[in-house]
């Protein structure tokens, strides 16, 4: 447990430090851009000093961590507002989109994966085709198409199910792919054949023996997809005009608004680490073999 925690903390530190350094390596000056053509160079200098940008990068790094440990994410270079305040405006939209997308994804992915992995014949092939298409077609294409074809029935797509369904269809493909593959593997395992030989019904074999171990990789994928959606819905957010974290991150990176980018990365990193950890716990609980393995490790 201790090394695990240390590794987690190291991951977080590394992610934040890399963000801090990489951002500052990109050429450009956000403050200069704000005052371009304004013939007001003193204002730019004053602002730079007020934001601490006149200090050395090392000093900036130290005060960044000092602030972070106090829960202070700094202020946006663009608007001067506290980063926590800006993020608080954006998270509800992103969490809502991620949550509802994942509902679509899990329902779709689980059923399609089950059909593709456990079924036979053309339905199984159709389900496999779905996951292949969902993985290979880019979401901006489906999103634009959906907006053009269905837009008029969703007077205001920003609040509709449409973006959630679009993202859900694509993430569902990933889940179906993994679930199907893991079911197919398990289907030919010896203990399943034994279960069939015992005379158990298809249902009982699936429910009692196959499902739990097959779900383990799916849980990991769901966790990773959730983490990915928190930050990776930029294009969908842009097409559907949603004021989420993805768009904010894009603007902040392009506008070189260091504190905002850093603030988003902090939260995303922590969320990601927590999701992965929760998924590992889930897998540990789901699959007795993993549990036995870790006991064996501990004993050795």
């Amino acid at each position: 447990m201790i090394p695990r925690l240390a590794a987690t903390l190291l991951t977080v530190w590394l992610a934040l430090t890399l963000t801090f350094v990489l951002l500052r390596l990109v050429p450009g000056d956000a403050i200069a851009a704000q005052f371009e053509g304004s013939a007001n160079p003193q204002a730019a200098e004053l602002k730079r000093a007020a934001l601490g940008l006149d200090q050395t990068p090392l000093m900036q790094y130290v005060s960044y961590w000092a602030g972070l440990l106090r829960g202070d994410f700094g202020v946006s270079l663009a608007s001067g507002l506290p980063v926590t305040e800006i993020l608080a405006q954006r998270w509800p939209s992103t969490l809502l989109l991620t949550g509802s997308s994942m509902v679509f994804a899990v329902v779709l992915g689980a059923s399609m994966g089950m059909i593709a992995g456990w079924g036979k014949g053309w339905t199984a092939r159709l389900a496999a085709l779905y996951s292949a298409l969902a993985l290979s077609i880019p979401s901006y294409w489906t999103a634009t198409l959906a907006l053009l074809l269905l837009g008029r029935w969703f007077a205001n797509p920003a609040y509709s199910l449409l973006p959630a369904a679009i993202i859900g269809i694509h993430s569902g493909g990933v889940i179906a792919q993994v679930f199907g593959a893991s079911l197919r593997d398990i289907r030919t395992a010896d203990y399943i054949r034994v279960a069939h030989a015992k005379g158990l019904s298809q249902r009982a074999v699936l429910g009692r023996h196959a499902l739990r171990p097959a779900l383990a990789p799916v849980v990991m994928v769901i966790a990773l997809q959730t983490g990915y959606l928190m930050s990776g819905t930029i294009i969908t957010e842009m097409i559907f005009q949603r004021a989420g974290v993805g768009l904010l991150l894009r603007d902040a990176v392009l506008g070189q608004d260091y504190p905002v980018v850093q603030g988003i990365i902090v939260i995303l990193t922590v969320l990601y680490v927590m999701l992965t950890f929760a998924a590992e716990m889930c897998v540990w609980w789901l699959d007795p073999r993993v549990r036995d393995l870790s006991w064996a490790d501990a004993a050795a």
Binding site: S38, Q42, A164, L254
Partner: protein
């Protein structure tokens, strides 16, 4: 196969008495909570959106998210689209005649030395928060703009050499300049010098005022969620608008929601789906299609500032050579570009000011019109030949290559692509350097490693040329510096005599083109569109900002 499908669906329909291992698995993994979350998400996602049909509410599509919308602090032009409705300015420009007309100031007097401007203010004006408008309020706004802590990006510069003010009586204020400055009246027409409620300014503080703006205009600022929406509601008390506003029409809209449509491809789609009723910056190809549809109106608005243009860098070879700069101009088929890229919605630009600017010098028309022969002969005269027969000209062993900085806006990537092809046929090689955004563009300017760089500014007063062409200006991107041009530029801002300014700016434009300092491409045209149910949409003379006071929405 159907068995498995049945299996999946039937499990949920059956009662808990027949729970199989599968459903036990689902239910034991904290499913109460997850079902709750799922229901919450679905409910939230399903919430009905307000219909634009039932109430006189319209959605106005904005095109980019801005970092701030405080009129005194920020300098983006997007903010004015919204704030023009929230505020009045001391003066207005009539959209038809472009003349400066009374706004919150009934009239004004300029002292003979051009240093003191006296404004007599309207006495019947109230801010949206109920506080009265008077000379004190004007003074508070001037003070805020001038305060270094405000860190104004634009309004401070607009006020130029403003030194102080003097409250003469409750409704009279003097603005005192340290030197004559003709553009002051123009500055006071612009949204950046909007008069805000002093009470709201102090109550909300510098950072948060932008979320709680209080003006005297025809619409009240209701709320603002960045990147999401800005809502305005009609101000029923508004009775002090400029004369050109006229009477309120029947069916006048009483609520406007501004939403952000950042993906250009979705803008026309949003109009067609009824999601928005008015939309800015439509793609030219979409505008073409909408123009032929009776359900929509396309409103192209010419921006009377600088055209879309490339500054040519005189500090870097080969554009330090006049012959090369002229060859680039002759070698550019600008009407071809306007047809292909802008679908004919923009006129070709010939000089440093747009043709719709009242200070435009018509003598620059057709200067350097497209002529490949001329381009080649200018280069030949300049000593360029294709000695190694590679299709590109060279001189003293150096091939003729130019570096072009290409920002992503205004369809510039398409423009530079065409220019590259056109220049190739006269023997000039173009290396295109794309930059993702404005800070990156400025970085290139700082490095100075460019021959051509695209940029434009908007504004009605020709003094927008000063920061770009004064030899010592920080924002002189051509690197051209001559005492003659400087003298003309300084002279043209210090006199208030309209005719004299016109002569001086005509000379300035002529010099800029003689020296071939820029490659103008097209006059900037803001392509707006709206459903035909909308009437009364007009734009102020600066081109970007609509005047929505008289906009009406007909019943569908």
């Amino acid at each position: 196969m159907s068995r498995q499908l049945w299996f999946l669906t039937s499990q949920r329909e059956q009662g808990s008495s027949r729970l199989s291992n599968l459903s036990r698995l689902w239910s034991s993994s904290g499913s109460r909570l997850s079902i709750f979350i799922i229901c919450f998400c679905l409910l939230a996602a399903c919430q009905p959106s307000a219909s634009a049909v039932d109430t006189r509410k319209i959605v106005y599509g904005l095109t980019l998210n801005v970092s701030g919308i405080d009129p005194h602090v920020n300098q983006n032009s997007e903010l004015g689209i919204v704030l023009r409705q929230v505020y009045d300015t001391l003066l207005y420009r009539d959209p038809k005649t472009r003349q400066i007309v009374p706004g919150l100031a009934k009239d004004w007097v300029i002292s003979p030395d051009g240093l003191t401007y006296t404004f007599h203010l309207r006495e019947d004006v109230t801010f949206h928060d109920g506080t009265p408008f008077n000379a004190e309020a004007v003074a508070a706004n001037i003070q805020r703009i001038m305060d270094p802590v405000t860190a104004s990006q634009k309004s401070r510069q607009l006020l130029g050499p403003l030194a102080s003010y003097q409250i003469v009586d409750t409704y009279t204020i003097n603005l005192i300049l340290s030197e004559p400055y003709a553009p002051l009246l123009d500055a006071l027409c612009q949204i950046y010098t909007a008069i805000a409620s002093p009470k709201a300014l102090t109550e909300n503080g510098l950072l948060r005022y932008q979320f709680h703006q209080v003006g005297t205009g025809p619409f009240i600022f209701v709320d603002y969620l960045p990147d999401d929406h800005i809502t305005l509601r009609r101000n029923p008390a508004y009775a002090w608008g400029p004369a050109f506003y006229g009477d309120l029409p029947e069916n006048a809209v009483d609520e406007i929601e501004f939403r952000f449509f950042r993906d250009p491809a979705t803008r026309a789609a949003a109009l067609r789906s009824g999601e928005a009723q008015i939309m800015g910056e439509i793609l030219p190809t979409d505008a073409r299609a909408l123009a032929s549809d009776p359900a929509f109106q396309v409103v192209p608005v010419a921006i009377p500032g600088q055209p879309l243009q490339f500054y040519m860098n005189l500090k870097k070879a080969p554009t330090d050579n006049l012959a090369v700069r002229q060859a680039l101009l002759y070698g550019s088929n600008r009407s071809g570009i306007v047809d292909v890229v802008y679908q004919g919605f923009s006129p070709v630009a010939w000089g440093p000011l747009a043709a719709t600017n009242s200070f435009y010098n018509p003598n620059v028309n057709n200067l350097y019109a497209y002529n490949e022969e001329q381009a080649r002969s200018v280069l030949a005269l300049g000593g360029y030949t294709d000695s190694d027969n590679d299709g590109y000209m060279d001189k003293d062993g150096t091939p003729l290559e130019v570096t072009v900085i290409q920002p992503p806006w205004g369809q510039l990537p398409d423009v530079t692509q065409l220019l590259q092809d056109q220049w190739r046929s006269v023997g000039i090689k173009a290396n295109i350097v794309p930059v993702p955004n404005f800070p990156a563009l400025l970085e290139q300017v700082k490095k100075g490693d460019y021959n051509l760089i695209a940029f434009d500014t908007s504004g009605l007063d020709p003094s927008i040329l000063n920061t770009r062409y004064l030899g010592a200006s920080r924002d002189n991107w051509t690197g051209y510096s001559s005492g003659d041009l400087d003298k003309l530029l300084v002279g043209a801002t210090s006199t208030t005599d309209e005719a004299q300014r016109r002569t001086l700016y005509a000379q300035i434009q002529a010099i800029i083109m003689q020296e071939a300092l820029i490659l103008p491409i097209r006059d900037y045209v803001n392509l707006n569109a709206h459903t035909s149910r909308i009437t009364g949409l007009q734009f102020d003379p600066y081109g970007w900002f609509p005047l929505l006071y008289g906009v009406a929405l007909a019943d569908s």
